[in-house]
């Protein structure tokens, strides 16, 4: 397997980072793992030998989108794409697992994966349409009334009129699903946005800034509970910053980047490490020493056999994730 990978041509001037003839971590560990973890049905589970699920399949396809058009990656990608298309629900959404009846947050990831392969624009458009039509539950009349009558203002301090996207239909807006949908939106519409899409973008971006933790960074979406400031987490911070990269010069972005950079060194989990690395690099902050750090973490627990983490690690070690970067100007748009 490794031989086939090592001889496969790379795209866009991609260099093999291995030194002294040694295979890089990406080639030696990530790619063989991902290829071997693919299920016979074409999808990937969260771990090898688990049932195929939309999220790990989408992350793996995003890594494969950056690789050669030749086998073995092309074969794996085409089987994965076929699986993903088959998992789409009639309303255009994607569920977490194909046997489920309702779409959810994974719709943005599946759409992104297909879009970055330049395939199935109809399926992607249908998925995005579903995302545009599904609103989180906090905006409903009943919910607003409930908040007004029963909820103490000291419990959470946030602007509920600013809506993004929820994890599952009809529940509240949260940082990560909002960021995923915004990233897809930016990839689909590099230029002017249709009016209804523009409205969702504006609301979602404002919601993300509203949910930022004091001092920078994001947690899942509660910056204050009972007057106490929430602690940021790496994952939500990364996705929010990537979704908001059009506003890279804003003080909130820079403050959050500073928090992320401070957090990077002591990070103990491979997922946090590679996500932070991808984000800092997307913002032009070069961080050295990712590969040795990943080797150390891999030696400890083998990434707990996580397909998603392995795909992220491969992306972070690669020459750049096209899907993560669309920023063309450093100017902030308020």
């Amino acid at each position: 397997m490794l031989d086939a990978i090592m001889t496969a041509p790379l795209r866009d001037g991609e260099a093999r980072p291995g030194r002294n003839g040694e295979a890089s971590f990406r080639e030696q560990i990530c790619w063989p793992f991902l290829l071997a973890a693919q299920n016979p049905d074409g999808g990937w589970g969260y771990r090898p030998n688990q049932r195929s699920a939309v999220e790990p399949t989408s992350w793996t396809l995003l890594e494969l989108a950056s690789l050669s058009d030749l086998s073995p990656f092309e074969q794996a990608a085409s089987r994965g794409i076929a699986w993903l298309l088959a998992a789409q629900l009639p309303d255009g959404s994607w569920p977490a697992y194909p046997n489920q009846r309702e779409g959810c947050w994974t719709t943005a990831l599946a759409g992104l994966a297909l879009h970055m392969h330049g395939l199935a624009p109809g399926a992607v458009a249908k998925g995005f349409d579903w995302l545009c039509n599904v609103w989180p539950g906090e905006g409903s009349l009943w919910r607003r009334l409930q908040r007004r009558l029963f909820v103490s203002s000291s419990m959470v301090r946030q602007n509920h009129s600013l809506q993004g996207w929820s994890w599952t239909p009809g529940t509240s807006s949260w940082v990560e699903p909002t960021a995923y949908a915004l990233i897809l939106l930016h990839r689909l519409y590099p230029g002017a946005l249709p009016r209804r899409v523009e409205k969702r973008r504006r609301l979602a971006e404002a919601m993300l800034y509203d949910r930022m933790c004091p001092g920078g960074g994001w947690n899942s979406g509660n910056p204050f509970v009972y007057g106490v400031a929430g602690e940021p987490l790496v994952g939500p911070t990364v996705w929010a910053l990537l979704a908001l990269q059009d506003h890279c010069e804003r003080a909130e972005n820079q403050e959050s980047l500073d928090w992320l950079a401070r957090t990077y060194e002591p990070t103990r989990g491979p997922a946090s490490l590679v996500l932070a690395h991808m984000c800092l690099e997307a913002y032009g902050r070069r961080i050295e020493g990712l590969e040795p750090a990943l080797r150390r973490l891999y030696a400890a627990n083998g990434f707990l056999q996580s397909v998603s983490v392995t795909a992220w690690a491969a992306m972070a070690l690669g020459p750049g994730c096209r899907w993560l970067r669309w920023r063309t100007t450093g100017a902030s748009q308020s």
């Binding site: 987490l233 994952g235 946090s272």
Partner: protein, 317 residues
Amino acid sequence: MSVSTGQLAPSFTRPPSRVAVRRAENYQADLPSLLFETLREFDLPVRGKTVLLKPNFVGPDPLGVINTHPAVVGAAKESLLRLGAKEVMVGDGPALERDTEAILETMRLRDHIGPLASSFVDLNLEDVRRVPLRTRASRLKELYLPEAVLRADLVVSLPKLKTHHWAGVTLSLKNMFGIVPGGCYGWPKNILHWSGITRSVLDINSTVRPDFAIVDGIMGMEGNGPIQGVPRPCGVLVLGNDPVAVDATCARIMGLVPERIEHLAQASYLLGHLRDEKIQQIGESIASVRTPFKVLPAFRRLRAAGEGRPWHSNCLA
């Protein structure tokens, strides 16, 4: 499998429950011996069985004040294996932090339970199965639940003794939120909040009722728990085969009235005993270990000395 089949029963049909309260001043104590000796008193049917330990892992916790302490998890695993369990897995699905490995590494869990790849399951990302809920307290009707939970012969809830800013307390019943997979429902599992925390706690526990509970009360948390509260040393482990009785005992130790904690009061209708006359106490008396916990103003009514009224609205359909 651990999907409940016969445990839903009104209190008056249930035999009294047994709850053990053991002193352990710190995590350097001989917890394996303490737990082994106590578990032996319960005659747990673990021989040849697959056991899932469900701790409460919330986030990176270098000071050991938020998560179930790894020494307690390790001691529980060791004790159950000594009692003849065929396999003891540790599994949780943290509600907010997606980087589960970061949580486990910060706690140094593998120093206590062995290699993580073979002894820990991330319940957020396990294969799932659709399970109809056995009660209709919430509107959920069904949930996708991890196969690792459904396959286990016994599920042991292993929470930390903490106050909770939405539910009042988080103990062995609330801890079962962690079996609901983030891979399906997100981080946090917001659908449970929308369905009502109390009602969701009831539906989850009626469907997968923990067979046993071990509460880590050596170092608890008071005030704005479960994450941002203040560490509260309490020096106890509380164990029992009735999670409602265990939680009620913990509440009494915390200086709270269990009848005023909504999900405990509701759970007592079908899931276990709340009244102290129905709970046989083993080990320390509650009075000897009572450690009043501070609560947020919104939960003042829960305090034993307060004037609050118990919750009585019946939401079980």
